[in-house]
């Protein structure tokens, strides 16, 4: 407790001067921890670069009109293309979308607009999360036992239809979840306004609520389709594979993902190259869909 004030203040301001001393133990620790986190971030990005670079170079150099329009060659032969597999992936994904989108959007509408948060809606939401966690190979086993083994469609066993249904089981949880969460974001005032001018429940939902939630739903649906297009496990023993052009919905069909799987483990150079080419086309399609989904959500936000 000194009597003269000036020295104390000086002492005080000196103590308060902010200065950063990098050699302090805690600052050292901070630098090391930051470096480790940065290193991990680099490690996490490396695989993407390597995968994309290899797919672009190995697959991209094979790209030609012939590749996109011809049938795969018999084992041991050169040349050929993956035209049937490209068409097949589109067909199977389309079947899956035609089933999963109406069912999923409808289910999401029920959960968000009608459900009273009772046991039923809680059960459906829980079941949806469980269904999202069911391994995709189990979906394949399920559809195989349900449709392929029982030959339910015109006595056909393996079929494009079965593959599409298997993929739709996989897509369903994504569509329901994005619809439900998208609808929850719609302000309650919009619904009240619609009811206020005399719209019925049905008109409110189809003309007001669903269009208002279009962006999140569309984003989720596009991502779901992109994921389904790349799935292989549910297709290996439902859609199977075919070296020919698609022969309708009730016959086995070639898809790019199954083609990659089959041709990657073949001991023939030509087949391996076609696997890379199919990877290229598939990755371009899927990354394109992902960027499209991002673009949808960005455009409508502004």
């Amino acid at each position: 407790m000194s009597v003269s004030t000036p020295p104390t203040t000086r002492h005080f301001t000196e103590r308060l001067t902010l200065h950063y001393d990098p050699s302090l133990k805690r600052n050292r620790f901070n630098q090391i921890a930051t470096a480790i986190a940065g290193f991990f971030a680099v490690v996490a990005v490396i695989p993407l670069f390597l995968v994309i670079i290899y797919v672009l170079f190995q697959g991209g150099r094979l790209l030609s009109l012939q590749l996109l329009t011809e049938l795969p060659p018999a084992p041991g032969l050169e040349g050929g293309g993956i035209g049937n597999a490209i068409l097949g992936t589109i067909v199977v994904t389309l079947v899956a979308s035609l089933i999963a989108i109406p069912v999923g959007v409808g289910g999401g509408v029920y959960l968000s607009e009608y459900a009273q948060n009772g046991w039923f809606s809680r059960f459906v939401r829980f079941g949806n999360d469980v269904l999202a966690g069911v391994p995709s190979i189990i979906c394949g086993v399920f559809i195989y036992s349900l449709i392929v083994a029982t030959r339910i469609f015109f006595d056909q066993s393996f079929s494009a239809m079965a593959g599409g249904i298997a993929l739709s089981v996989l897509m369903l949880p994504t569509v329901i979840k994005t619809t439900y969460e998208g609808l929850l974001l719609v302000p309650q005032e919009l619904r009240w306004g619609a009811y206020g001018v005399g719209a019925s429940r049905f008109v409110t939902i189809t003309r007001i609520t669903l269009p208002a939630a279009f962006t999140p739903i569309a984003t989720g649906v596009v991502l779901g389709i992109a994921r389904a297009a790349g799935e292989t496990a549910p297709l290996i023993f439902t859609a199977l594979f075919s070296p020919f052009w698609p022969e309708g919905l009730f016959n086995p069909i070639a898809t790019m993902s199954v083609l990659i799987f089959n041709f990657a483990i073949m001991p023939y150079e030509a087949q391996n190259e076609l696997a890379w080419a199919a990877s290229f086309v598939l990755v371009i399609m899927i990354l394109g869909a992902n960027l499209l989904a991002r673009w949808i959500s960005r455009v409508s936000r502004t």
């Binding site: 620790f29 921890a33 930051t34 480790i36 986190a37 940065g38 991990f40 971030a41 996490a44 990005v45 695989p47 993407l48 390597l50 995968v51 994309i52 409808g106 289910g107 509408v109 029920y110 607009e113 809606s121 059960f123 459906v124 829980f126 079941g127 469980v130 269904l131 966690g133 069911v134 391994p135 190979i137 979906c139 086993v141 195989y144 036992s145 089981v169 369903l172 329901i176 019925s200 429940r201 049905f202 939902i205 992109a226 994921r227 297009a229 790349g230 292989t232 496990a233 290996i236 199977l240 990659i260 799987f261 990657a264 483990i265 990877s279 598939l282 990755v283 899927i286 990354l287 992902n290």
Partner: protein
Amino acid sequence: MRSTPSTDAFTLRRRPPQEKLVDIGFRQLTLVLAASVGVVLVAIFVTVFSGAKEAMATFGLRFLTTSAWDPVNEDYGALIAIYGTLVTSILSLLIAVPIGLGTAIFITEDLLPRGVRDLIGLMVELLAAIPSVVLGLWAIFVMEPAIRPFLGFLHSTLGWTPFFATAPQGPGTAPAILILVVMVLPIITAISRDALNQVPIELRQGAYGVGTTRWGAIFNVILPAAVSSIMGGVMLSLGRAMGETMAVTMIIGNSLNFSVSLLAPGNTISSMLANQFGEADGIQVSALMYAAVVLMILTFVVNVMAQWIVRRLSLRY
């Protein structure tokens, strides 16, 4: 109703019967569609269980602890596949969790300009979009040859432990673990990033206010506040890693002989299903269904646990 305008402006409009019908019909329709989730889920369980009934009766619980897989003598046990599923998924998570969490912290902190951080986040998310069969192809032709010298080094230095006792010879459990790391990394990173972003800014400001450093705040305040979501995300990725099929099937070697060594070819339940289900008949189908039941129970327990953790462990702040 519009054709006969009422003289009294305050009379309530009568809803025409077809409008009511559409309303009620639409409600019932969406109800049925929502119920379809439950129907599909129950159908999956019933189908797979009933398919497995024969093998369950024949082999009982012995199926889980024996490693015979002998189609000639019709003797089946799933120990190799169960062991492979657990080992690959757990070890891959042990590698992926620190990397994913570190990346998430790195891109939620303000260490770099916002644009760079968003770009890293975008790239990690795109990695999640690459189909697993493409990753499998890449693993066969690029990754496995590239890491073989490293695995050989592990064998020559740590070969005295049973885990590295065999020489690496192409496909095996170790490359499968690494490709699983690549697959679950984006999930862990995305969930951890969302969890960290949701921690209220006041907590961080409070921590800085009492004089802690950046990493002091991260370790003592932010991570504990986000731990429940992060743990939930980790469990979710564990379920994903257990069920992952294509990339693992293509690189694990699908061996039917039991080996503790990580460098030897192994097997998982899902890759066994992918390889054999199409050509199996008789009791082998049932045995594969039994293995599928085991996989389904494992992923079900893990997923339910993930939801439980998120709900129960979340801190109230």
